[in-house]
Symmetry: C2
Subunit: 303 residues, 2 copies
């Protein structure tokens, strides 16, 4: 009999979904000391790590597991994250904001409030170039949606070139060459040492002034001061940050009021218990059978 | 030698595109009396109808040709409209507004202005039902985009059931049954006698209160007073009108300030000269060869 600890703000929903999944030899328990499996949100689980003597496997309900791969923490268990379920959610978010920009949704509303029949032409996604900073499962889904809208897609990765919807791949040290050709830059990077401030003044300078930046990865990837400077000087048309460093932003933080910057408070892709339970159930089947689990995190790499 | 009259606000671009197309035996002329072919915007062409003694063919640059099919006007020529080029433009517009609604783009911006870290959950297109009032080439493209976003698609047509991305078709008299099952209603109807005020109080009442209405067809389809009433009473979550009756709206018109109503001033799908020229060039080849033209309008039906 395996014992599962659920550590989530959506615990009630997870209990229901997991009961409905009818997984054999699995009991949901409350005492960490008894449990070999933990399902939940990385931050809450991190605080329990010293109290889990029987721990074998943690299934994160998020893609980002930075709290569990911090140096000095135990690594004597298998950590799996959630993948393959955020792509369509992220596409809805990213293309919602790209379309809002091109269709001038805010400007048209201001025109309406002024009772001004504003026949300004809208822009198009069609034919534009979307640049992906990071092409994992989320980036690949964004590329697919971009192709639906007849866009060009460029991808920046360390080395991989696995998504066939990416028209051109760039690797270090070609990040500025990559940035120069973009209409939109979408950052989908996890928080690691290597992604700190990758969107810096130099990169922002290289983007065309009509470009839009969207960050749906982690806040550490963006140099906030450089971004505010670029927006203030009109070196960038707009930026949309779903993630920031820090989170939440303190009231006095200058990002709140930067021009043409839109904050969305880490709302872009919720972990839906029914989606995550599908991953958990498949991994639990493998766990029972002693097979390798899906979506294992490399503690060194951090994702 | 055929002589072509161009009647368009984008005349210079059309002249350039048509010259680049290198069409044989075709001269662009300025005197209506000489011309057998007219390319342009229906309203401007209508005013010239009595001055076109050699007229054989009019290629409208718009899908909507209501000005050219008014009763009492000459019908002794072939009228073709533009089709197949607006689908992706309309998808960008419609899904831009649907996503803006679900992602709460305006609410989040207001939260940002108030420096409120607004963790309200966003909505999803995934799993929702899009209803199409009219399933021609534009409606079919909207259905395709809806499928990309993993939505259900219902279609209301007079009789046709040609688009395979539509999951369920409804026909008269089942319009209320159709409306009751929708999350979003998108009207893509042309202006005809049969489409006048099809979106009336009864239809708006049948929509669920969380539904969003988008009209990208023609303004005559919507009963303005009934819509304002429905929005005011919260019988509908929001409405987005790219087209209105009248157009432009006079400053005192109540639509300007109706709650949760967004006006976009007929900006949803521009006729791009390079797109329209491709249609014109193919039709001109058929015209020279005496073959039936593509996209012929039925004067009686009106589209």
């Amino acid at each position: 009999m395996s014992k599962l600890l659920i550590v989530s703000r959506d615990a009630d929903e997870y209990v229901q979904c997991i009961r409905e999944a009818g997984l054999p030899d699995l009991e949901i328990a409350n005492d960490p000391a008894e449990c070999d499996i933990v399902l939940g949100e990385p931050r809450g689980i991190r605080d329990l790590l010293p109290r889990l003597p029987r721990l074998k496997w943690i299934q994160s309900v998020y893609a980002g597991v930075e709290y569990l791969v911090e140096p000095g923490q135990r690594r004597d268990y298998v950590l799996t994250n959630a993948r393959g379920v955020f792509g369509d959610l992220m596409s809805e978010y990213v293309f919602g904001y790209l379309l809002a920009h091109e269709k001038k949704i805010f400007e048209r509303f201001r025109a309406q409030q002024a009772k001004h029949w504003d026949r300004t032409e809208s822009g198009l996604l069609r034919g534009k170039t979307l640049g992906l900073l990071g092409v994992g499962s989320i980036g690949s889904h964004l590329a697919l949606t971009a192709k639906h809208f007849r866009m060009k897609v460029w991808g920046f990765t360390r080395a991989s070139e696995e998504c066939s919807d990416v028209d051109a791949y760039f690797h270090p040290p070609d990040i500025l060459k990559f940035a120069k050709g973009l209409d939109y830059l979408v950052c989908v990077l996890p928080r690691t040492e290597g992604t700190n401030r990758i969107v810096n003044a130099e990169l922002l300078d290289a983007l065309p002034p009509h470009a839009v930046l969207i960050n749906v990865g982690r806040g550490n990837a963006v140099d906030n001061s450089a971004l505010i400077e670029a927006l203030t000087q009109g070196k960038l048309a707009a930026a949309v940050l779903d993630v920031t460093d820090p989170e939440p932003l303190p009231p006095e933080h200058p990002l709140w009021a930067a021009p043409n910057l839109y904050l969305t408070f880490h709302s872009s892709a919720k972990s839906y218990p029914e989606d995550i339970t599908r991953i958990f159930a498949e991994n639990y089947r493998r766990y029972l059978e002693g097979k390798p689990l899906m979506y294992q995190v490399d503690f060194e790499r951090g994702y």
